[in-house]
Symmetry: C2
Subunit: 226 residues, 2 copies
Amino acid sequence: MERYNKHPKHFVAVDCVILGYDEGELCLLLYPRGFQPSKGAWSLMGGFVQNNESSDDAAKRVLKQTIGLEDIFMKQVGTFAEPDRDTEDRVISIAYYALVRIEEHDKACVREHGAHWWPISELPAMIFDHRKMVDKALLKLQQEAGYRIIGQELLAEKFTMLQLRQLYQAIFQREFDPGNFRKKILSLDVLERLNEKNMLESKKGAFYYKCKEENNERGLDRIVKV
Amino acid sequence: MERYNKHPKHFVAVDCVILGYDEGELCLLLYPRGFQPSKGAWSLMGGFVQNNESSDDAAKRVLKQTIGLEDIFMKQVGTFAEPDRDTEDRVISIAYYALVRIEEHDKACVREHGAHWWPISELPAMIFDHRKMVDKALLKLQQEAGYRIIGQELLAEKFTMLQLRQLYQAIFQREFDPGNFRKKILSLDVLERLNEKNMLESKKGAFYYKCKEENNERGLDRIVKV
DNA sequence: ACAAAAGTGTTGCGGCTACACCCATGA
DNA sequence: TCATGGGTGTAGCCGCAACACTTTTGT
């Protein structure tokens, strides 16, 4: 008994704003659209939502296919449903953003798609409303990072205060005072200092830290005022 | 040329978390589902996204139909796309929340649907994942109210400090000190004091305020720390 | 010796909280 | 006159920003 049949059905897609971090800057993974219209223009990684698949599942599938990684931090950005947003046919798209360690992704997988990492400050033109998705994703990332330590998602398992601070500077596009940043972060008591130092980025050497397990539970103080 | 045809299409709906404010408490408008399964269970107001209609448009249409009001404050909450969330058939639903002045809506229109305003503290069971939508909407409302004065949306064009404070107490589920609340709000310089007093709720009489026009532009200080 | 990052300490300002306090007036 | 909300003032606390200062070590 199909009660809903008088209503139209639509293509539903997911588009992934895949963010990494490299050399002090946030980077976005884009791939070149291979056919007209807008051939050669850059596009987010996307895919259609299949039957028996939630949009979360679809986004995970796209991520697996394009960068070969699973269990990635990922959140919904919002849904874009203007009737003419896709020039080919109507497609309603649910945007997600994902945070990946840029060093760990499957480079062959990415190369195969002709994809390219772009620094956030120099993004090329993108198809459709993908630029809007990216901008909204970056805002959501700031919100997330303002309430929870974003560290292991974009850096490595262990990281130094310098690395974490530079990451936050990239996310919030502003400087943080080294001393104050350190004290603020440590006062939250969500990092664990390891008995190991990074000797590469300073003469004195900087302790590595890693996130404590319970970091996932939010509810901290706010870290960065917006 | 339909390049997407190998992919499935889906029903796409909007569901509206319609919030009002009455006698010191937030209220939610629900209507009873009229058919099996879950007949008699309560449901959000919803509707299907039509062709040539964005989801924002669809949500506005649903609001117009159910409470007879246009130009209502409204924001996207998120998209719910579990394959089995609707027991009848697969429907992907985009949830919105709307803020309405409970006194101004079209009561005949609402009665016709058998709808009922429920205080937030005593919500009945709802169908499908509607409860999740409501909870997420209430969180979004807190976020919004924390950065912008939510006043004219839920109260009247003009309102007293007492009314505004009680509204905020309902939204954040906690008490605010009357003096401090007043000073904080006025320091934002987004309200305009009218030469008119409300004599009904106190002996001395309280000035009415209304929102200045530019209140819509966000970017204020944070009002309530979460 | 110098530079550069690590790490700690100090000080001042601003905002928030918890009140105290007077005002106006209806019951 | 008492209770109630309106409205203002104030003292203390806390957090943050700015910045000084010491440590360590490679070049």
